[in-house]
């Protein structure tokens, strides 16, 4: 063995330890980087040489820098993130909606109580014109309460639609970057590089995307992922297919004009709304179609019923001008749709409170209509929910049921969210535990590599000294 070999072995040692130290430094630097998987320099001894019939070591090399990563956890996280995204968005949306419904519902029931109580008071003092004015005032408050609750629900629905558009945009941005990363990963691998950072970034984007939409992920032999959202391919190799939203006609629980999701593949937009069943996108549409829409229908049913019942009783009565057959509230026709939004006083009553009927005849003390109207509040005139069914609730109970139903949904989704968050936290904890950077470990590695680096340098010094000794032999 030549003395130079000692120098070569020492040099390889220095290079390998330096590269390992670089990897360790990179780990330390990325300790807080989201999605980063710690890396390890895989050291291996060089093949030995045979010198004078004896196997002699030739030093060390870094075979590769590997990413410490668990594919199974990544897959589980992708699966569980979909449900988490779904219930999270529903729990958040419903919590906000619950606060609104509680406030507006209380206002609505207070207004209902005030209106019927004022009519009740009118029934004991029908000659008093100022009480008719009070009834008119409380009827206007009631109309405002219906209109306001309807508007609040409508703006809640519009906001959810806007957020559907936002999430679709984010899905498109992530899908585009994932497709670009697919391409970069293949290119890096073809150059013999280890695209660890690119794969980390792609994994993180896939996890992020999975919280937005239900996602099926498959990886081919070249390391490229194909993503299917609902039943539409959104990423395939280096190609991505954009999703878009547009308003569509009513179908099932979906109201007319609500946003639907389309995929733009092969030049023709294809609707995929029904196939999206999980993730934030589905959560937004489910909150819209299964909570807000039914609540709006329920509210419309209540408003329609109040207007219809009061009008029926009022038409039997006579105003102070002696004219009968007048409606108290605006005629809403035969359709319950938008009844809460359109709810208001009839033009006659709006213009003159003396036209409010309290009795069935012109007799000034006749209070039969006032009594009949106030008794509507005791009647069970409404079904349990927007779907109809047997009539078994008063108007007040129905408003309370509407708000309580929102409460039930909120409670359910919040519990589901807590449960799902615990699952994802556990998985994320496991991923962190396996792939995350531990600074103590890295510090010890650093000392380890530094020690060997120093020793390798020492070995080179010895080699140099040997060489010098040999050179002095000439003299």
């Amino acid at each position: 063995m030549a003395v130079n070999d000692i120098l070569d072995v020492g040099q390889r040692g220095l290079q390998a330890q330096r590269q390992a130290l670089t990897t360790t430094s990179s780990n330390i630097a990325n300790a807080n980087t989201p999605g980063y998987s710690r890396q390890r320099a895989q050291l291996a001894n060089q093949p030995p040489q045979t010198i004078h019939g004896l196997p002699t070591g030739t030093g060390v090399e870094v075979k590769k820098v590997i990413r410490v990563h668990d594919d199974f956890v990544q897959k589980q996280l992708v699966d569980e993130n979909q449900s988490l995204g779904n219930v999270k968005i529903k729990a958040e949306t419903l919590s906000r909606f619950e606060a609104l419904a509680t406030q507006e519902g209380t206002n609505l029931n207070d207004s209902l109580n005030r209106f019927f109580n004022d009519y009740r008071q009118l029934s004991t003092n029908v000659e008093n014109p100022s009480l008719r004015n009070v009834v008119k005032g409380s009827a206007e408050s009631l109309a405002r309460a219906f209109n306001q609750m309807s508007s609040s629900l409508e703006s809640g629905r519009r906001e959810l639609d806007l957020r559907v558009g936002d999430v679709v945009n984010q899905v498109n941005i992530d899908a585009k970057e994932i497709a670009e990363l697919n391409n970069s990963i293949v290119q890096a691998q073809s150059r013999g590089e280890a695209p660890n950072e690119l794969m980390d970034r792609r994994d993180m984007l896939v996890r992020d995307l999975s919280s937005k939409v239900d996602l099926q992920v498959t990886e081919d032999q070249r390391g490229q992922v194909t993503l299917v959202a609902g039943n539409a391919v959104v990423v395939q190799g280096s190609d991505h297919f954009e999703l878009s939203v547009r308003r569509s006609a009513a179908s099932g629980e979906k109201a007319a004009g609500s946003m639907s999701v389309f995929v733009n593949s092969s030049g023709m937009p294809r609707e995929i709304t029904k196939s999206i069943k999980n993730g934030e996108l589905a959560g937004l549409m489910q909150a819209r179609d299964k909570v807000i829409n039914p609540a709006m229908q329920h509210l419309d049913k209540i408003a329609f019923s109040v207007a219809q019942k009061v009008n029926e009783a009022h038409s039997e009565g006579t105003g102070l001008d002696g004219v009968s057959n007048r409606k108290f509230f605006k005629d809403l026709g035969d359709s319950e749709e938008h009844a809460a939004f359109q709810f208001g006083l009839s033009d006659d009553i709006k213009q003159n409170h003396e036209l409010i009927a309290a009795g069935s005849t012109e007799a000034p003390g006749d209070n039969r209509v006032a009594l009949a109207i106030s008794e509507i509040q005791n009647e069970k005139v409404l079904p349990a929910n927007e779907l109809g069914g047997s009539v078994n609730f008063t108007i007040n109970e129905s408003v309370n049921n509407l708000v309580a139903q929102v409460g039930v949904n909120t409670q359910h989704e919040t519990q589901m969210f807590e449960h799902q968050r615990a699952i994802v936290d556990q998985l994320e904890n496991y991923r962190q535990s396996f792939s995350g950077v531990n600074l103590e470990e890295e510090a010890l590695d650093m000392i380890k590599y530094q020690t060997v680096f120093n020793a390798s340098a020492k070995a080179m010094k010895v080699g140099e000294s040997l060489l010098e000794t040999i050179l002095t032999l000439k003299d």
């Binding site: 710690r38 619950e98 009740r120 309580a404 531990n438 510090a443």
Partner: protein, 300 residues
Amino acid sequence: MPSRISTSQLFSNAQNHITTAREREVSSATKAATQKEITKPSQSPAQWTVAANLKDDLSIRETIAKNASFANSFLTASDNTLAQLQELVGRTHELAIEASGSASVSPEQYHRVLPEVEGLFQNVLQALNTEFGHRPIFGGYQSQQKAFDAEGRFMGDNGKIEVEIDRNLKVPVNLSGAQIILGEGLQRGVNLIDTYQSLLTGLREGDVESVRASLDGLTGVVDQFSLGRTQIAGAMTEIQKALDSHQIHQEQSQKVISELEDADPIKVFSDLTRDQTVLRAAIETNRKVLNEDPVGTLLK
């Protein structure tokens, strides 16, 4: 095998611990500040619904109870008027007996009785026009004119004014003037006005038979008033029952609402103290853990 802990796990665990402890503290603080266990339906939809329905019921009953009190006052006024009428008619009956005591009644006797009976008749007419809240109690729905004119002609109608005294329960509060005063619709009903007119004519003309004939009428009228007062007593009993029922409902409902919604102050403040201690412990523990500098220490 002990699990590996990454450095970012230390920080995220610290964040989770402190966030959870803070959320609990805020929740307890909200309960302490509002003294409410339930502030939104999702905390307990069933309890929230029961409380909301009870609150609505209380609001409705408050007005109904006011109306029931009004009905009670109306009926009391009617009863007092009938009692007054009974006295007036009773006194008239005494005078009529006096005037018809013997076969030959002197004109002086008639002339002594007549003015008093005339005065009593005027008092009766005045009582018949008694108003409650500017509304004649015997006028039916004709509430903006007198029930009887100066000649005793009935100006009202048979309108039955009902008042809601409990949920789904109404009682009539007025007596029909036509029935109770004029005897219409009653078996052997007596017309008070006609009876007085007949008595007065008899007294003016010295017609003892007419005076005697009016005695039965006056007795019948008193019976009619008694009938009216019995009806009033029945209605007032109903009202009293309804008012008692409102009172019981109010007390029970408020108790149930309080049980459903209100927080137990002792529990709330002990929870708050516990949650604040937990929060401080979480902050302190994590401060100690996170202040360690393994790299600095190891590489020193």
